[in-house]
């Protein structure tokens, strides 16, 4: 009857979630659960384990024992690690801006209706899908002191090129060139999609006011692209701090140039797998994690100053 209907209506309003909603959420969780399980087991659990291992010391046959803060104290005194941090910073300071700038230029150039556009985009993207091992082998040949292509070209202008990868003065910078070359393609794609999200009405309005291409680029494209640039910068910074594979394959542990180029993750590899000091290596990994977290947090804070969200 009417009163019963009223009571039932009021009861339903009191209940915050309807049974249909609960069922939807349940299915949502079920679908997400497998992936979350995978991430928890293979990513989150190892981080927790690494944190635990940073307080242990390892001996032969993977036997480890608790050692408290000893590893952290050792880290503060470790000159090799500090020089590796310095090398890593040099790498970051050079490679991130160069990558971002070149990626923006490449994306802007490839956003036009040019003949053979797809071919250009493919060529620029190829380095990304090439295996780092293959990239290293080819670039090692290019950089070879006696028989490499770069020094061959230089010999035409009467310059005797150095042994790029074996010279402590040049090795790290040689690797930076390769790293930037590899990263442009990936970021270019991301920036391209950002560019295509900019409404053409802005450009039309500017053209009506008589704006030239450079004005359009610096006053419309760049500001509206800043959210994408922000994303690219954050990702590039994180991956630059983790640089390992190119140093390992192009220079390597036995090279005379390694001390000028070894990065933090390279030192981690050395301690973990060559010296079997897995506890100390875990400490290094945790410290690197904290450094990257802090820098990313700073970036998040700074975004208010320069990122324009529409």
């Amino acid at each position: 009857m009417q009163i019963e209907a009223d009571v039932r209506a009021r009861q339903m309003m009191k209940r915050k979630i309807s049974p249909m909603k609960t069922q939807e959420w349940l299915w949502g969780y079920i679908f997400v659960a497998p992936l979350i399980l995978g991430i928890a087991v293979f990513y989150m659990w190892p981080v927790i384990q690494t944190f635990y291992f940073s307080f242990t010391e390892w001996g032969a046959f993977n036997k480890y024992s608790w050692s408290g803060l000893k590893n952290y104290e050792r880290l503060l005194q470790d000159k090799v690690l500090w020089s590796a941090f310095r090398n890593t910073l040099v790498f970051v300071v050079w490679s991130v801006p160069l990558t971002v700038i070149f990626s923006i230029i490449a994306a802007a150039l490839l956003n036009q209706k040019v003949k053979g556009l797809t071919i250009y985009r493919t060529l620029y993207f190829l380095p990304v899908v090439t295996m780092p091992a293959a990239v290293s082998i080819v670039w090692k040949w290019l950089y070879n002191g006696d028989y490499g292509f770069i020094n061959y070209i230089l010999s035409f202008v009467n310059i005797k090129g150095p042994t790029w990868l074996s010279d402590p003065k040049f090795a790290l910078y040689a690797v930076i060139v390769v790293a930037v070359w590899m990263a442009i393609g990936n970021n270019m794609i991301i920036l391209l999609s950002g560019l295509q999200g900019i409404s053409s009405s802005y450009y039309e309005a500017a053209e009506l006011d008589g704006a030239g291409p450079f004005y359009k680029f610096f006053n419309i494209t760049l500001p509206l692209l800043t959210p994408t640039i922000f994303f690219v910068m954050v990702m590039q910074l994180i991956s630059a701090f983790q640089m390992f594979d190119l140093i390992f394959m192009m220079i390597g542990d036995k090279s005379i140039a390694i001390e000028s180029a070894q990065t933090v993750v390279f030192i981690f590899y050395k301690y973990a797998f060559l010296d079997n000091a897995k506890g100390y290596a875990s400490t290094i990994a945790i410290v690197l994690l904290v450094v990257i977290l802090i820098i990313t947090a700073i970036q998040m804070r700074l975004q208010k100053k320069w990122v324009h969200y529409e």
Partner: protein, 440 residues
């Protein structure tokens, strides 16, 4: 109902994808068979019974041994019908990791390959079966092998391993380059000064050729010259380093002088960019000190095959060469000690040595069986590798060899690059090495 089924199937597929895409492969690489231990556990506990027992045999022979392994197993199983042997072959790079994991889990193979640098670690941590009593009991003749090899697998006065094969170092040279400069070929009568002289004559900067590659290599290079100068890398009691002694420094200086003083070798930077062995096989250097294991490669190399020659190492203050060889060892906690010992003895026999030479995989350690290997390359004087046994000295090892052998790469290479003088490098190396040895 059909919808529910499809959704559940989808969820399962996503789970599988999520799990496999999420992590790096967590198993220990290489082809393994983890069920053997279980199998041998369910087999007889009393080793006297005539039930079939399966033992595991692990090594890293890979493709080189694809013929040798089955021949060895067949010959053994014919003699011992109640014992079956299961091979566990892993590429060298993963072999040691896998072995360590197995050691931790008390799951070592029954019989397996061992090398000098790692031997003491396993023996000292009681992972290996001491063989002294077994040898005495069965009157097994250890005189069949070179003493330096038997010593390599002896710890604390006890024998733990039976030598398997060995390698020594020789001077490989390019006859064509020697003929061009009219220099006499190297031979066993040479000494250091003769070699330096020849290297200088063979160096032609205009053509980009050098007399010798002063390769920064321990086993192929400075271990030999340190011994030849009358020095040593590690003391006999394994407690102190010999690197700061004048003899060792002389041994190092032999190479650094070739680079910096006599200019008869490419620089360290050049040899880092292009490996010395590649320089040799493309005719850029006339001489290279390298191991006997290169015989097959050099003899078959397109460029080298009609030009290659090899000679014994020159004499320093004394004749010497570093010898290394693999050994066969037994796990201490094997569940089939009797069967494993039978197999171990068989592996050390003349029959298996002959299989080694027939398949050409390595120079067998059994005295007198090396002729077939020597004859395998008629154009090369491989006999020199055998002759050098007479004055060979052991590869330097300690309980945790890796802890200081890594330092050799870090510190000594600076003498090659000229950053440090050989004395400085030797002193620093000895200081760090003594630290590591004290911690053992």
């Amino acid at each position: 109902m059909k919808r529910m089924f499809m959704l559940t199937l989808l969820a399962l597929m996503v789970t599988v994808a999520g799990c496999s895409g999420g992590g790096t492969s967590s198993d220990d690489g290489g082809k393994t068979s983890t069920s053997t231990e279980g199998q041998s556990q369910t087999d007889s506990n009393t080793t006297d019974s005539k039930e079939t027992v399966t033992i595991t045999y692990a090594g890293w022979g890979a493709s080189g041994y694809k013929d040798a392994y089955p021949m060895i197993i067949k010959a053994f199983e014919e003699k011992h019908p109640n014992i079956k042997v299961k091979i566990e072959d892993t590429p060298n790079k993963q072999y040691w990791q896998k072995l360590e994991t197995a050691a931790n889990g008390d799951n070592l193979p029954d019989v397996f390959w061992m090398n000098g640098p790692r031997f003491m670690q396993y023996a000292a941590n009681e992972m290996l079966m001491p063989l002294g009593d077994l040898i005495k009991q069965d009157n097994y003749d250890m005189n069949n092998y070179p003493k330096s090899l038997v010593d390599l697998y002896t710890y604390d006065g006890q024998s733990y391993g039976i030598p398997k094969d060995f390698d020594t170092i020789g001077v490989w040279y390019n006859k064509a380059l020697f003929d061009e400069k009219k220099v006499e070929y190297p031979n066993v009568s040479w000494d250091w000064s003769k070699l330096i002289d020849a290297a200088q004559k063979l160096t032609d900067p205009a053509k980009g050729q050098w007399g010798i590659a002063a390769n920064f290599d321990s086993q192929g290079g400075y271990y030999n010259t340190i011994y030849q100068a009358g020095g040593y890398m590690i003391s006999d009691d394994k407690k102190s380093s010999g690197y700061d002694k004048p003899e060792a420094i002389e041994g190092i200086q032999f190479w650094t002088d070739l680079i910096h003083k006599y200019k008869a070798s490419p620089t360290m930077a050049q040899m880092t960019d292009t490996e010395a062995i590649n320089m040799f096989t493309s005719g850029k250097v006339a001489m290279l000190w390298e191991g006997s294991w290169n015989a097959v490669d050099f003899a078959n190399n397109e460029y080298l095959k009609d030009k290659i020659g090899v000679a014994a190492l020159p004499k320093g203050k004394e004749q010497s060469v570093v010898i290394h060889g693999l050994g066969h060892v037994m796990s201490k906690n094997t569940k089939h000690p009797k069967e494993a010992w039978e197999f171990l003895k068989f592996l050390g026999s003349k029959e298996v040595a002959d299989i080694h030479t027939k398949t050409g995989v390595a120079i067998p350690a059994f005295n007198g069986t090396q002729d077939a290997w020597v004859k395998s390359q008629p154009n090369l004087d491989l006999q020199i590798f055998i002759d050098q046994l007479a004055y060979s000295k052991p590869y330097p090892v300690s309980k945790y060899t890796a802890k200081w052998s890594g330092l050799e790469s870090d510190i000594l290479k600076k003498a090659w690059s000229g950053e440090l003088s050989p004395e400085e490098a030797g002193k620093q190396m000895a200081a760090k090495m003594n630290e590591a040895l004290a911690a053992e």
